[in-house]
């Protein structure tokens, strides 16, 4: 029986506090560990924070993708069980890696392309036709996700990305623009179960549906083929605690993202499901394996 868990954070959100409270309510010994204060000798397990050393399982909940990813690498090196695993965090933190796996497994997803320079990206979009959606390979909350409607948009985007000096912007992740209702689907997968799902409606002044951008939510019960697609998408990235995003089309759902650091405040509020407790129950079951 797992008795203790630690929650790694670098910015304590509603979600981490809910997880901490849920763990305490279930009688577990729980701690919140701020990874920003950690320095670890990777040859010496005793230099891990004491709360982490004493934990049966670790929930990695950093808001920074790279902090969470590399902290997980260190913990797994010491044989610790981390949710999500390094591989899942790596896959979900990179939209291209996620798409490659979705395509490989035949999971319906928007047609996706990759270009490796400013020039080839613009040339490709001209050849493919507009509109297209361009996303950063690493990033979230809809940030820098751009709908490109013509060559002028494409040139402006390229110039802007060039100014940002981020090496990942040399890689262009391009997707077909999918015509969908003014909403998408967010499903929270915990282990092998879809514990809660919601439709996210785009705000009046934005085509993106991210709740972080002001979208509103409505509960939905996922069944049959749709549920199967969501679970397969979660499995494709290695499983764990995930937010699977999909769009409705005439041909069925298209999975467009799988999030490894899922924020569940909105879906908890929309559905009434105690997602935090579901995650702690899962963490406990993982620790027992």
């Amino acid at each position: 029986m797992a008795n203790s868990l630690s929650i790694l954070t670098d910015r304590l959100r509603w979600e981490e506090k809910a997880l901490y409270t849920a763990a305490l309510n279930m009688g577990l010994s729980a701690s919140i560990v701020d990874v920003k204060s950690s320095s670890i000798d990777i040859s010496d397990e005793s230099t891990l924070p004491a709360e982490v050393r004493d934990s049966d399982v670790v929930l990695q909940r950093c808001v920074s993708h790279y902090r969470g990813l590399y902290y997980t690498a260190v913990l797994e090196r010491f044989g610790r069980r981390v949710i999500n695993s390094f591989m899942t965090s790596l896959m979900t933190g990179n939209k291209l890696l996620t798409s490659l796996e979705l395509v490989k497994r035949g999971i319906p997803t928007p047609r996706t392309y990759v270009s490796f320079s400013d020039e080839s990206a613009v040339e490709f979009m001209e050849r493919h036709g507009y509109p297209m959606v361009v996303k950063p390979v690493v990033g979230s909350w809809g940030r820098m996700v751009t709908r490109v409607d013509d060559r002028d948009d494409a040139n402006t985007l390229v110039e802007f990305r060039r100014m940002l000096q981020d090496p990942t912007y040399q890689v262009y992740y391009l997707q077909e623009y999918v015509r969908r209702p003014p909403r998408d689907l967010r499903a929270v997968v915990v282990g092998d179960d879809v514990v809660a799902a919601e439709y996210r409606y785009q705000p009046p002044d934005d085509w993106r549906t991210n709740i972080a951008r002001g979208g509103r939510a409505e509960p939905v019960s996922l069944k049959g083929h749709d549920r199967e697609i969501v679970l397969k998408a979660a499995e494709a990235v290695g499983g764990g605690v995930l937010g699977v995003d999909a769009m409705e089309t005439e041909d069925g759902l298209l999975v467009h993202e799988v999030n490894g650091g899922v924020e569940f405040h909105g879906v908890t509020h929309a559905t009434g499901v105690d997602v935090a407790t579901k995650i702690i129950e899962y963490a406990r079951s993982v620790a027992k394996r």
């Binding site: 910015r11 304590l12 701020d34 990033g139 490894g260 899922v262 924020e263």
Partner: protein
């Protein structure tokens, strides 16, 4: 004046109601009605879900 909830935990973010600047809670002492804050990190490119 920045309001810090009594049940705030270290690491939580609170905002200045006047200018919106975010601060991270370092410690809270509800009995003394005091909290220690430090400027919160600014949003980075790799932040998110």
């Amino acid at each position: 004046m920045i309001a810090v909830p009594d049940d705030a935990l270290p690491g939580e973010i609170v905002s200045c109601p006047d200018c919106g600047t975010e601060y991270e809670v370092v410690s809270v002492d509800p009995k003394a009605g005091r909290a220690e804050l430090k400027p919160a990190e600014e949003v980075k490119e790799d932040w998110g879900e």
